[in-house]
Symmetry: C2
Subunit: 371 residues, 2 copies
């Protein structure tokens, strides 16, 4: 049984890794930041412009994330299957990574008004659709079926992401064991047909700040990481220092020959720290969300373009940036668009923020390559 | 004194005209449909994609409309002047046509809740900003100054567009004479510096269904149409047959050697009728507004993509169309985006609608050329 994913080392720098990744005919370089195509589109950014931004490097970003939960509920994974998968549906023939759907269910469960919609059980999770109240069940195996229906290239296992507050260590440990059990089930189910399909599946290491649990989880789950392994980070309320400490701790316990994916991290500082602690892949919706709230990354800061000081500012958003927005428009124009609630303003800011993180990864790759 | 605008006949077909128009280094063919860049951006359509659609023909559309009223109030014409005009501000070096600002003031005056903000006087109109209540005045000469601040290529004179309801013919005639007086004032003011600046100015013929007033107005205003003349059509409630009758009547009274611009007409049927009655230019915001309400032009009909029948429809929006939307996406995907309120859905529909009218004009030009 040959692995579908090839992951070849080019260069390392301390714990940072510059690798070439090949899957289903697509070649990428890591470290990489994946834009999130939540519901089969990236929020507020026109597809074509996004692609142009992502293709300008020698090793273009051709890897995006779609959310299983959203596409499962609407328009349905089965409908997308009829379109020969989400690549065809959204007309983007890149690698598609899908999550397990758990995080969105977990978000319902965390919120006061939606909590009653969710019931976590040992063999999965029951939930009601926020759209129409219909009842659904995610199990370790059916989320694989759903992700296969989407024709995902890279699938994730159903886990349990423990909440940070209102839970003791014993309960966390129980949830961890349940997750390990699920991972085993998912792994077996996936491996039965591993040679039949073109997708890969990976487990997720969690358990917040408990280093002993992290270590145990890393050891157990490494067994099921045939191609890949992920670290679930973002829950609620961790500090940047805690993040760095735990990432450094866990990456020491992980197999060195597999890509490592850290979820939900987005600040430039934390991304850089994580790469230098051995992480290869990232995703987050925040860059576009910030854009829709008038914020833009600039050099080593963020800037709120709605502020009156930019009304007559003839400069680009970030003079060191060569993205579409910064090449073509002034801060004054962006300020005007945002003040007028014109879609184009949010679009141009979101595009810049994605391009900024993309460029950050390029810079880090150059550091690794040339140091 | 040489005219800045050159307008050269290529071919006519009955009353329809295929002309080449040259102004400020830009060459266009008419008939032409201008997209509306209301507040220095076209609503919901990314600039670059819009441009790509408009440039694919041999004689690309490089003429767009900006609204004086909106840009005067925000970000201010004087700020835009500091940017060397609206071309630079919105980074689009095409021909810019600006309206006089009257229609937006008139719209305030027609609405129950804003009526009190407007006071029409003989030498102009007083109004309060809907943004902050500040008081402003538009006069026949200061709207020229404002449009010059914007660096408009093609300016319009301040007119009075009489309401259709609640007004008798005598009052309409009075408003017409006031408009003629204003046109004279504007013409004199403009001609004093005609050779200094690169913009042209045109008067507007109106007066609803009164053919005698239309004729009188056409005759008087033709004197002030040094470069150009426009017909103001859309007020409220005219039928398609009334439109055709009046357009046919008025175009017979207009100089044949000047471009004629009919405002606010957008249905494919009416556009076609108007071209064959001697109209050269059109604009309207409706194609993008329809897109934002889920409607798309298809062949000889309109289609509401939100309807459930399109949920699994694998076809493009319009199989006869080669726009970006129709080349790349299915109805099912557009239906999904609209159901999810994803911006991309409105964008793709708006883009298609503009491209559709653009293509309609191309088709009509071919008919004129080849018949």
């Amino acid at each position: 049984m040959n692995k579908k994913l090839s992951f070849t080392i080019q260069k390392t720098l301390w714990k940072a890794r510059l690798w070439t990744l090949q899957l289903n005919g697509v070649t990428l370089e890591t470290p990489i930041f994946m834009p999130v195509w939540t519901k089969a589109t990236i929020k507020w950014v026109p597809l074509e412009r996004m692609c142009a931004e992502m293709l300008w490097t020698q090793t273009p970003v051709r890897l995006i994330l779609n959310n299983t939960f959203h596409l499962y509920l609407r328009p349905w994974d089965t409908l997308i299957k009829k379109f020969w998968g989400v690549h065809t549906f959204q007309n983007r023939n890149w690698l598609i990574l899908t999550d397990s759907g758990w995080y969105q269910v977990f978000s319902l469960w965390l919120s006061k008004s939606w909590k009653s919609l969710v019931k976590i059980v040992d063999d999965g999770v029951w939930f009601q659709s926020p759209h129409d109240g219909s009842r659904h069940f995610f199990s370790p195996t059916n989320v694989i079926d759903i992700q296969r229906n989407l024709w995902s290239d890279i699938m994730m296992m159903l886990d349990i992401c423990s909440p940070v507050h209102g839970i003791n260590k014993k309960k966390v440990a129980q949830q961890m064991y349940t997750t390990h059990q699920r991972a085993k089930q998912a792994y077996q189910y996936h491996m039965e047909s591993y040679n039949t399909y073109n997708w890969v599946l990976f487990p997720i290491v969690q358990w917040w700040l408990y280093t002993d649990l992290r270590e145990e989880s890393a050891t157990i789950l490494s067994q099921y990481a045939y191609d890949w392994i992920a670290l679930w980070w973002l829950s609620v309320g961790e500090t940047s220092e805690e993040l760095e400490r735990i990432v450094s701790f866990v990456t020491d316990k992980l197999p060195t020959d597999k890509p490592r994916y850290l979820m939900g991290v987005w600040t430039p500082k934390e991304l850089r720290q994580a790469v230098y602690n051995g992480i290869d892949m990232f995703d987050c919706v925040v860059p576009t969300r910030l854009g829709r709230h008038w914020w833009a990354f600039v050099w080593d800061d963020v800037l709120k373009i709605k502020n009156a000081q930019y009304k007559e500012d003839f400069w680009p958003l970030d003079s060191t940036c060569n993205c579409h927005t910064c090449r073509n428009f002034t801060r004054a124009y962006l300020h005007h668009l945002i003040r007028e609630s014109e879609m184009m303003g949010w679009t141009l800011l979101s595009l810049h923020n994605i391009a900024y993180l993309h460029k950050l990864m390029e810079t880090i790759k150059e550091e690794i390559r040339n140091t």
